[in-house]
Amino acid sequence: MSDGAPLSLKRDGALLLPAAAVLAGLFIGPMLYFLVVSFFKVSLFKIVPGFDLGNYAKVVGSYGPPILFTMGIGFLIASVTTVLAFIVAHLIWTRGRRFSGILLAATLLTLFGGYLVKIYAWRTLLGRDGIVNNTLVGLGIVREPIEALLYSPVAVVLVLVSYLLPFAILPLYGALRSIEEKTIEAARDLGASPWAAVRDAVLPRCVPALVTAFALCFLVTAGDYVTPRMVGGTRTMMMGNFIESQFGLRMNVPLGAAMTYLTITASIAVIAFVWLALKTVLRPK
């Protein structure tokens, strides 16, 4: 490799072994275990091996709405985050000039505030006695504090978008950096408006990064059960919460595993749909 030749699986494959072992032992193995378990049954709090589709039937029958809600809110949060992240990354790339390093560092700086710290920060902002409500009441805009700011799906969206934004900015900024600015000038020279130049010369080359950013945000959201509990209120129940309770309180691991696999399948379907849609819409004509 010191000679600069590209890696070849045949020659350098052994180098992959440690990583492959970690992946197999800590991810693929457990996932396969739960795939098998999802076909088992529980009887008197004991797991009974077998091949039974009852868990899946139960999830489809009883948990359809929460799965759809989880996919929907995940799609919304991932879309909003990806669009905002693209705008920020594009601004840093085009307008940042010599400040681009500082601007990028500033977005990363927010990662120093932990996940839970951010949730509590939003609770302070959005709560009944929070800053937003106090300001609104103080200014006389509303008479009573707005309860729905916190403990609602809106709060879940706000918290997760603000939390995920830096993660989505990074891949998009990386993709933008690899685009020659000259191609945008060329598009403008050939008569494209500023927006058309971004659509035709920039976005098609960001499809992998857009899908990456979307998938990252979507999967974090679809698997999240902390945010909905902390700021979502009692009625905002996402699949993560149901899965967690099956693995925890209800001690029904097979049902939890079936929920997990259906959620994963639905998530892959959503990401594949977004990827295909982006590819189709942005394909050069």
Binding site: E180, T183, A186, L190, G191, S193, D200
Partner: protein
């Protein structure tokens, strides 16, 4: 060229911070001009997309995710041209630059010279009134550059139009242009045909920028230029120190110098065989050094020799 100019630059200037890239300048381009701007810095910047001009970028700026066909057709599609017309014009344009076989390839699959042709085709298909070319051949090796220069000459002859060409390569400017603008430090030094630029340079910079030049220190007083201890001739201009310039290939040596308007005697100090020519370095009687390029010659270093040139082949600039 008394017709109305196609493009008129008036008081055009460009600064980057405190750096004055282009000092205010006035410049006219006429229809059918092939204008080369050499030296100085980048003067052509992106015009608004509404203008009937198009640009060939340094480094091409092709869209790497679009096929050659899509690249060339992009401007027409943006303008809402019907599909059938786009296809037909793309086909014609690819034929013109001899790239039909590559229509469905992507730019990264093409060589530098091929990408250059596509960049040219993509701009030309818009039928611009003025085509701007910003050092289009800078990234090509010598052989390919020469081939592309030939190609561009052919295209200009074939389709006409006004080309404005920025280059740092003097030979390229001389070869391609019908009109040359020489710039230095953001200022226009001279505008003229390649012949005028080469044979009648107006400044010291232009004299040395295009080709080699010999200079003799002289002095002008009352419109008469005199070289101390040698000769004098009439030349209008302000009084003061001047330089008299002569191209090396216009310098005659030995018997040929006897028939010249101006003569010096000197000593050959160096002989370099350059293949097509022989280059001599001669030390003149007044101590200055002259270069002479001859088709042939068997002079040797140390030989005493007469050096001469015709009045018509000299020019006067201020140092």
């Amino acid at each position: 060229m008394n017709a109305e100019p196609l493009v008129r630059l008036q008081g055009l200037a460009k600064s980057y911070g405190i750096y004055r890239a282009v000092h205010p300048l006035d410049l006219d381009f006429h229809e059918g001009d092939f204008l080369a701007i050499i030296g100085g810095r980048d003067v052509t910047r992106l015009p608004p997309e509404k203008r009937p001009t198009n640009m060939v970028f340094q480094g091409y700026g092709l869209f790497p995710h679009m096929t050659i066909r899509q690249n060339v057709g992009y401007g027409l599609r943006i303008a809402g041209t019907p599909r059938a017309e786009v296809d037909a014009r793309v086909r014609d344009m690819l034929a013109l630059v001899q790239m039909e076989a590559f229509a469905d390839k992507l730019p990264p699959q093409l060589s530098g010279g091929q990408q250059q042709r596509i960049a040219l085709a993509r701009a030309l298909i818009m039928r611009p009134k003025v085509l701007l070319l910003d050092e289009p051949f800078a990234a090509l090796d010598l052989k390919l550059r020469q081939a592309m220069q030939e190609e561009l000459r052919r295209l200009h002859a074939e389709i006409g139009g006004t080309f404005v060409f920025v280059t740092h390569d003097q030979a390229e400017a001389m070869l391609l242009a019908t009109k040359v603008v020489v710039m230095s430090r953001g200022k226009v030094e001279q505008v003229g045909t390649p012949e005028e630029i080469y044979l009648r340079p107006k400044t010291h910079f232009v004299s040395t920028f295009v080709g080699e030049a010999n200079f003799l220190k002289a002095c002008r007083r009352l419109a008469r230029v005199s070289i101390e201890g040698a000769f004098a001739f009439d030349d209008a201009g302000p009084d003061g120190d001047v330089l008299v310039g002569v191209r090396p290939e216009k310098v005659r040596l030995g018997a040929a110098a006897a028939r010249c308007d101006h003569r010096f005697s000197g000593t050959v100090t160096q002989r370099i065989f350059l293949g097509a020519q022989v280059q001599y370095t001669v030390r003149l009687q007044n101590g200055e050094t002259f270069i002479a390029c001859l088709q042939e010659g068997d002079l040797l270093p140390g030989d005493s020799i007469d050096v001469g040139w015709m009045s018509a082949d000299q020019w006067v600039v201020t140092p």
